[in-house]
C-alpha cells in the first residue's frame, strides 16, 4: 500500500452543485451544440423526475420543467481537478492528475505524520465531504492498480503485491483500463477476467496485441514502473463562481463567499502557506467589477476567520448594479507561521487571540481604527503622540524626564475664560521647534477650575490673551 487513488465519480456535477445553496434542487448539466442540447449528467433529484443522461433537452423538458440547468464545461472540470490536487498536496508531495477525474498520490512516506491509514482515510473523507465532492478511495501498491481498483471498490486497502494479484485477477477485462477494442477482442476470445488473461503465454499475447497492452498489464501488477508527472501547486489562487441570477443583497453572496474562502483555506493548507491580502471581485453586467480588498496584518488560513473577515468587508460595500459573478484572487501567499501558544495558559477562557480580535475589529471599524501609542521625544505636546500600527513589537521605550504631564491631551486647545480658573503652578516654559517651522514658545500653567478640575493651560510668550487649555490632569 503505497499509492492512493481518489476517484471523483461525478466531478462535474459536484462542482456545479457545490456552488448552489440548495443541493436538493434538480440539476442537469448540458452539452452539445445549441441546436441539439443533450443531458450530460443529472443529479439524484433530477433522476427522480425521470431525467437520464443522454436524453435530449427537448425530451427532458417534455418530462418536467422544474429543474435547473448548467453548462458541462470541460475547462471547469480541469480546474476543479487541479484544485483537488492542490488539496491533496497537503498530504503528499507526489500528487498526480495523470488520470481524468481522479487524483493519485503516494502516501506511505506521509503516514509517519498523519498516523495510520485508517485515521487518514477518515480525515480524507471528512474533508472531501466538507468540500462537497463525492469520492471513492482505494489504496494499492502502485498507482495504476489503485486507479483500476477504484473502478470497482471503495475503501479498499491492498497491503501487498500478493493480495493485489488476487483482487485484480477477479476483475472483468473491460474494467482494467484497457482500450475498449482490446477488451472486446479479449472477451471475444472467451477471456472474462484478468486471471484468464494472465494465464495466457506472454509471447502469444505480445503477438496478438500491440505493445501498450502488455505494458499496461505489467504496470498494473507492479512489474513495471509508470512514469507520472507530478503536480506542482500554483503560486496564486483565483477562483470564480458564476451566479446564475442577479444578486441584489449581500445576504445572497454569503454562501458563495463561504465556499470561496473555504476553498482558499483548503488550497492554503495544501501549500502550507497563509494569505495576507486577497481581492474579492463582484462582477456586474456591462460595468467594471467592484473590487473589495481584504488585507490582514499577518498571514492566516483558518476558513472561519477568512470568511468572517471577508464578510465584514463585504457588508460595508455598496454596489450600484446587481452582481453576476463572484471571484476571489489571492496573489500574495506568504508562509504560514502558527501562533505560539502555551500549554498552561494563565487565562483558560482565552478563546480568541489578540491578533484575531484585532483583525475582526479592523474588518468592521476600518483599517486605521486600531493603533498603539508611541512616545515621540519632543517637548511640544501636540508632537509627542502618534498612533502606530501595532503589528510590530516596538523597541523598548526611552524613559523621559519626570516632568508632570496631564493624562489627557486635547486635540484642539480651548480658551479658558478669565476668572473661571486659578493658577496653581507655573509657568513652565516650553520653547521648541524652530528647526521645522512650527515654532512654539509657550508658558504652561497648572490651573484649577472652579469645579475643582485640574488642567494644563498655556499662554504664548509675549502675548497677553486668555490661557489656552491643552490637557486634563485626569
Amino acid at each position: 500500500m503505497r499509492w492512493v487513488c481518489i476517484l471523483f465519480p461525478q466531478l462535474a456535477l459536484d462542482a456545479a452543485l457545490r456552488q448552489r445553496a440548495d443541493a436538493e434542487e434538480p440539476l442537469v448539466l448540458l452539452t452539445g451544440p445549441a441546436q441539439r442540447r443533450v443531458l450530460q449528467a443529472v443529479n439524484d433529484p433530477a433522476r427522480a423526475l425521470g431525467l437520464r443522461a443522454g436524453q435530449s433537452m427537448s425530451a427532458a423538458q417534455a418530462l418536467s420543467k422544474g429543474f435547473a440547468t448548467a453548462e458541462y464545461d470541460l475547462a471547469e472540470i480541469e480546474r476543479w481537478q487541479q484544485f483537488l490536487a492542490a488539496w491533496a498536496y497537503g498530504f503528499s508531495a507526489q500528487v498526480s492528475v495523470h488520470y481524468p477525474r481522479a487524483v493519485v498520490f503516494e502516501i506511505e512516506s506521509s503516514l509517519g505524520l498523519f498516523g495510520s491509514w485508517a485515521q487518514l482515510e477518515v480525515r480524507l473523507r471528512r474533508e472531501l465531504d466538507g468540500l462537497g465532492f463525492r469520492h471513492r478511495i482505494v489504496a494499492a501498491p502502485n498507482p495504476v492498480a489503485a486507479r483500476v481498483l477504484a473502478n470497482a471498490y471503495d475503501g479498499l486497502v491492498v497491503p501487498d503485491d500478493e493480495a493485489l494479484k488476487e483482487y485484480l485477477g477477479q476483475l472483468p477485462v473491460d474494467r482494467i483500463g484497457l482500450p475498449p477494442q482490446v477488451a472486446t477482442a479479449l472477451s471475444r476470445m472467451g477471456l472474462r477476467t484478468l486471471n484468464q488473461v494472465q494465464a495466457l503465454p506472454r509471447n502469444s499475447l505480445a503477438r496478438r496485441f500491440e505493445a501498450p497492452v502488455l505494458k499496461h498489464l505489467d504496470a498494473l501488477l507492479g512489474l513495471r514502473q509508470l512514469a507520472l508527472a507530478f503536480y506542482l501547486p500554483p503560486d496564486r489562487f483565483d477562483v470564480r463562481i458564476e451566479l446564475n441570477f442577479d444578486v441584489q443583497s449581500h445576504q445572497a453572496l454569503l454562501f458563495p463567499l463561504r465556499r470561496l474562502t473555504g476553498d482558499l483555506s483548503a488550497f492554503l493548507c495544501g501549500r502550507d502557506s497563509g494569505v495576507q491580502r486577497f481581492d474579492l471581485h463582484l462582477e456586474h453586467a456591462g460595468l467594471p467589477d467592484t473590487l473589495i480588498k481584504v488585507g490582514l496584518l499577518s498571514a492566516e488560513r483558518d476558513p472561519a476567520m477568512l470568511f468572517e473577515l471577508a464578510r465584514g468587508r463585504l457588508e460595508q460595500v455598496q454596489v450600484e448594479a446587481p452582481v453576476r459573478g463572484f471571484r476571489l484572487r489571492a496573489e500574495d501567499l506568504p508562509t504560514f507561521v502558527p501562533q505560539y501558544q502555551e500549554l498552561f495558559d494563565d487565562r483558560p477562557q482565552q478563546s480568541l487571540p489578540w491578533e484575531q480580535l484585532r483583525e475582526r475589529l479592523r474588518a468592521r471599524l476600518g483599517d486605521d481604527a486600531v493603533h498603539g501609542l508611541r512616545f515621540q521625544a519632543d517637548h511640544r505636546p501636540e508632537c509627542t503622540w502618534q498612533g502606530r500600527g501595532d503589528s510590530q513589537p516596538g523597541e523598548p521605550e526611552r524613559t523621559p524626564g519626570a516632568a508632570k504631564r496631564p493624562g489627557w491631551l486635547l486635540t484642539e486647545p480651548l480658551a479658558v475664560h478669565q476668572g473661571s480658573a486659578r493658577i496653581l503652578m507655573g509657568p513652565e516654559r516650553i520653547e521648541s521647534g524652530w528647526w521645522d517651522g512650527d515654532d512654539v514658545r509657550r508658558d504652561y500653567y497648572l490651573i484649577e477650575t472652579r469645579a475643582g478640575q485640574q488642567g494644563w493651560a498655556y499662554r504664548a510668550v509675549g502675548e497677553d490673551g486668555p490661557l489656552w487649555l491643552q490637557g486634563w490632569f485626569a
Binding site: 487565562r347 489578540w354 508632570k404
Partner: protein, 205 residues
C-alpha cells in the same frame, strides 16, 4: 412551647453551631490605592466584572485611579485596550505612571461601534483591561458589558457622568469621584455593603 431557654446558655454550652459570614475571597486585582482597597470587600477591583467610575468633569484624577492597575497589568504582559477615548492619551504622562505603552492599544470608533468593540474585546479574553467611555449607554448596554467581562475574565472600566449615579447600574462596583473635596465615594460594591464615608483621594499635585 414550654420552657424559655436563654440564648446565652445555648451558645455557651456549645450546643448550637454559629455560622459566621465567610469573608469574600481576596481579589487578585488590587487597585493600588491602599485606602480604596481597604474599603472594598474583596480588597481590590471585582474580578472579571465591570467597574463604573462616575465623575462630574474631566481632570479630577479619573485616570490616576486606574493607572497603578494598568501599570501592573502591562508589566505582566497583558494587553490594555482603550475603546474610543474622549481625548488623546499623553504618552509621557502614561509612561510616568508606569504603563508600558507597547501594551496599549487604542480603538477609534463611533458611538455605537464603541460598545460593540468594547464587548468584543472583553469577550475575547485576550485583554487584561478594557477601558471605555460610553456616553448614552443604557442599562441593557451596560449589562452586556458586564456579561462580556464575566465571559472573558477581563477587567472592564467605564467612565460615565456623575448624573448617572441616580440610575441603577449592573456594574459590580460604582465609584464616584468628587473634586471638591477630593474624595472617592463607593456607591455600590458587590459582595458587601457600600461604605458610607468617603475616602480621601488626593489628586497627584
Amino acid at each position: 412551647m414550654g420552657a424559655v431557654v436563654a440564648l446565652d446558655t445555648l451558645f455557651n454550652g456549645g450546643q448550637v453551631w454559629k455560622g459566621r459570614p465567610a469573608p469574600p475571597a481576596a481579589s487578585p486585582q488590587p487597585t493600588g490605592h491602599a485606602a480604596l482597597d481597604a474599603a472594598l470587600p474583596t480588597g481590590g477591583w471585582p474580578e472579571a466584572a465591570l467597574t463604573e467610575i462616575l465623575l462630574a468633569g474631566q481632570g479630577v484624577g479619573e485616570l490616576q485611579l486606574v493607572w497603578p492597575t494598568l501599570a501592573r497589568l502591562a508589566a505582566a504582559g497583558e494587553r490594555i485596550v482603550l475603546v474610543a477615548p474622549p481625548y488623546v492619551p499623553y504618552p509621557q504622562a502614561w509612561q510616568n505612571a508606569g504603563v508600558d505603552l507597547r501594551q496599549l492599544s487604542i480603538i477609534q470608533a463611533g458611538e455605537r461601534d464603541a460598545l460593540w468593540a468594547a464587548e468584543q474585546c472583553l469577550r475575547s479574553g485576550s485583554c487584561g483591561a478594557v477601558l471605555c467611555w460610553p456616553h448614552k449607554a443604557d442599562d441593557r448596554a451596560l449589562r452586556r458589558l458586564q456579561v462580556a467581562a464575566e465571559t472573558g475574565q477581563t477587567l472592564a472600566f467605564a467612565w460615565r457622568s456623575l448624573s448617572e449615579a441616580v440610575n441603577p447600574s449592573p456594574a459590580a462596583l460604582r465609584i464616584a469621584i468628587d473634586a471638591r473635596p477630593a474624595q472617592l465615594r463607593v456607591l455600590k460594591c458587590r459582595g458587601g455593603l457600600a461604605r458610607a464615608t468617603p475616602i480621601a483621594f488626593p489628586v497627584g499635585h
